[in-house]
């Protein structure tokens, strides 16, 4: 019997301070819960279904808040429960200012081989606006320390479309980011989430609302600058560097013929070794198991989510109960819609072969009408093998995703 594959995610809901734009399931000022949370995670992991995890991802929150010994204990249990092959991608999210060199070396020893740093901006005023606790200099130091510790797969997160941000300042951020030579970049358009301080400041008129047209120009600029620097735009908000070579090749842009689809069966990882394989699991709607407060799991037509608050999560596990709170059965038609909504985020698009293998029906059969309509609107390309967003569709993705949902 072969063991089922599933990506593994561990949620760490602790942060030093809450950023002004953040609505993630994370909390500042409850660090006293960390030891109990570690115990609860171990308890949840011990009871986990057996699976082969080719990727492991510590996300948050700020996972780099966890002390190394606690992480070591977690890894121990993770390796007991899940089969984690030696070439697994093991990512940990970290914030600049929380990662001294010794800590980074310790992470390497535990097997972490990909580090994702929340840089967000190179400008101090923007960092303050976002409520970040670190400076750009600390980000640069963290990158240097990570390299010294042996990390050869680094991601940096940035945010664009901030109130008052100009195209020129965004270009400065991009250029400074490139000078650090990250293997991967996540560039997120600022989203004003309900209940965040940033949203209320804008609602009160203290700050100008972000300009969507300008944000569109910013993403187009990023696309150009990063293509020239040899980065492959493989998902709406994610870029991965092509195989390191010198001189650096220029990456094809999203819309250039053959940008990704060198051969019909070519996928993101065939183009760059630095695409995030863990996140590809989500975008391809393949199985994953999530551990920790608020973490979601998906497999065999069912999605379930753990209780959100860390204290409740701890209490459940202390009482020997399952932390799963919401279970959603996803009927096939909805799963198809979700597969489109997630898969179309990728440059590789949704492969007809994979769709057919999963559902026994091809894209044309299920979504013929939607595909035709979206092609007419020049939002989507469909060549019989894969459906992909056009450059226009990439900026207007919601208009496309909605069509496939029931």
């Amino acid at each position: 019997m072969t063991t089922a594959e599933a990506a593994a995610y561990v949620h760490v809901p602790f942060c030093r301070a809450r950023c002004a734009y953040c609505d993630f399931n994370t909390y500042a000022g409850i660090d006293h819960l960390i030891p109990a949370y570690g115990d609860a995670l171990r308890a949840e992991l011990r009871a986990a279904p057996h699976a082969r995890a080719r990727t492991l991802y510590f996300g948050g929150g700020t996972p780099s808040i966890l002390p190394l010994d606690l992480l070591a204990e977690l890894f121990h249990v993770l390796r007991l429960t899940l089969h984690i092959p030696s070439d697994a991608e093991v990512t940990l999210e970290a914030n600049p200012g929380t990662v001294p060199p010794a800590y980074l070396r310790g992470l390497r020893e535990l097997g972490v081989n990909r580090l994702s740093l929340g840089a967000q901006s190179i400008h101090e005023d923007e960092l303050r606006l976002l409520g970040r606790i670190h400076t750009w200099a600390e980000t640069a130091e963290a990158v240097e320390a990570a390299r010294a510790a042996g990390f050869d797969n680094l991601n940096l997160d940035f945010i664009y479309g901030l109130p008052g941000q100009t195209l020129a300042r965004w270009q400065e951020t991009l250029e400074a980011a490139l000078r650090l030579g990250p293997e991967h970049l996540s560039l997120y358009a600022l989203t004003l989430e309900e209940g965040t301080p940033l949203k209320s400041r804008i609602a009160r008129g203290e700050l100008r609302p972000p300009d969507e047209d300008l944000a569109a120009e910013m993403v187009e600029l990023a696309e150009e600058v990063l293509a020239d620097a040899g980065y492959f735009h493989y998902e709406i908000s994610n870029w991965a560097r092509l195989e390191a070579q010198s001189p650096k090749p220029r990456a094809k842009r999203w819309w250039e013929p053959g940008a990704w689809n060198l051969k019909p069966e070519a996928f993101s990882e065939d183009i760059s070794p630095f695409v995030c394989r863990h996140n590809l699991t989500y975008w391809r709607n393949e199985p994953y198991l999530g551990f920790g407060a608020g973490a979601a799991s998906w497999r065999e037509g069912r999605r379930w989510t753990n209780v959100r608050h860390p204290a409740d999560y701890i209490a459940r596990l202390e009482a020997g109960r399952s932390p799963a709170e919401e279970v959603e059965e996803i009927p096939p038609r909805l799963e198809m819609g979700e597969m489109m909504m997630m898969g179309l985020r990728l440059a590789e698009g949704v492969s007809d072969g994979r769709f057919r293998a999963r559902f026994g029906q091809g894209l044309e059969e299920v979504f013929g009408e939607e595909l035709a309509r979206l092609q007419d609107l020049e939002l989507l390309e469909w060549d019989g093998r894969a459906a992909r967003l056009t450059p226009r569709g990439r900026l207007l993705g919601n208009q496309v995703f909605r069509c496939f949902l029931p």
């Binding site: 358009a189 989203t191 047209d213 989500y282 994953y288 999530g290 979601a296 208009q399 909605r402 949902l405």
Partner: protein
Amino acid sequence: MDPARIRNFCIIAHIDHGKSTLADRLLEVTGTIPEREMTAQVLDTMDLEREKGVTIKASAVRMVYQAADGETYELNLIDTPGHVDFSYEVSRALAACEGALLVVDAFQGIEAQTLANLYLALEAGLEIIPVVNKIDLSSARPDEVAMELVDLLGGAPEEMLQVSAKEGINIQAVLEAVVRQVPPPSGRPDRPLRALIFDSHYDPYKGVVAYVRVVDGAVRKGEPLVLMSTGVGTEPIEVGVFTPGMHPTGRLGTGEVGYVATGLKTVQECRVGDTLTDADTPAPEPLPGYRPAKPMVFAGIYPTEAEDYNGLRDALEKLRLNDAALVFEPETSQALQFGFRCGFLGLFHMEIIQERLEREYGLDLIATAPSVAYQIVTTQGETLEVSSPADLPDPATIQEIREPWMQIQIFTPAEYIGPIMELMTRRRAEVGTTEYLDARRVVLHYRMPLAEMIVDLHDRLKSATRGYASLDYTFDGYRPGDLVKLDILVNKEPVDALALIVHRDQAYEKGSALVRKMKEVIPRQMFPVPIQAAIGGRIIARATVKALRKDVLAKCYGGDVTRKRKLLERQKAGKKRMKQFGRVTIPQEAFLAVLRLEGG
């Protein structure tokens, strides 16, 4: 009950002067409604009435009162609406009464509908009992307002009752005045039955429930009746009075007010204004009825989803059962497909109907901009009535377009004469005389096209005068005007439901303001959408809704799939609430943009 001890009266006033609150107190003092069951404006039972704090539909109640003279009287009260759109409702109530309480706010004094309703009551030959209300207000000036009433009605200042409906001050005096001053009904118990239907509502079990005033004879449950104008016969299922719930009594005698549950299924069979009589011994002559309500404002009402058409028709039919002033007929529009052209008494009436359709019947609707009824004289010499700009014939066949004009009276403190003049002359008004009510307050007379009036004149007037002015209007007559059809093109295509009829001199200004407004309210689409205003094919104004550049979720990972999917699903459902016109989605606001133009 001996007719000598019956008093039938209504409460009339300008809007918000406290009619319904006074009715509350009367019901309380007479013990009709026990104190613990009392709520504010207890007779305003419709959800919309309670929410907006206004009376929309008149209601009748019977009270029993032991007067100072030791006798017990039956008092039938009808509370009426104060909004100018519903004066038709008031005039029907008047025909069922011998007296009226004319309520005037002790701070605001006499306002437009005070006078308008007073004249209606005098015309109907009613005894008027003036009541100065809200004397508890610190800003009240009861003696001055009493003097205004003396000037208007004659009599002595001390005869003007001064009360507070809210605080329950001097309520007994009101009841005593009703008993003493309102004449008892003068009908003949020995004659064949004649009962005037002054209102009705529809009950799914009892059919049309007619609100009646028995003039001669008596109605009894089970005795066959006939409606004199239609000849339809019926045997009443139930006869009773409102207390204020329906309370069966089996009989209504001469002079009494109550209801007859007819069991009839359509209002066409049982019209307001008709006379009920005995089937066996019918009266020779019906009672004088009412002039049917004349709708002034017309608009198309369409379901956003075509499959709701039948639902909309059923809902309109049901509403018409309780609202004789609502008229409608099927209409088709290129843009909006199948719907109804509806006639209303005014914009407030239209708003109420639309809200009731949406709320009580769960419909999702698009209403077109309101229009008036134009008379078109063709080159053939025919006269057509057109209440929808889309129906205007080819300009080459039009000899003349005539539009309805109104006489308007505006009551205002004198310091606002300037701003009112400015507002009115911008709307093509002809200035008439100015009358001083006293040193501070004036009545301004104007003549104005109805089309200029329906476009939020009332709100503009209120804001130009900090709420102090009130207005009343009556139909004046049709006059020819230099009118043209203004077409609105969305994405280069004329949208019939957006067309307007405007005066040529205003066409350019209106057209520009309108396209600017439409640009604000039409959501950005995936391509730029030009919006143009045109007269006879010539573009006079344009604006462009810029294309939507970016609309995509920045992040979507494992933990958010459900939440993000639900967000997209909600957006998808939200889009259903708009009207798809070709490739462009147009929201309701765009159709009513003409009501919300700057400057105007």
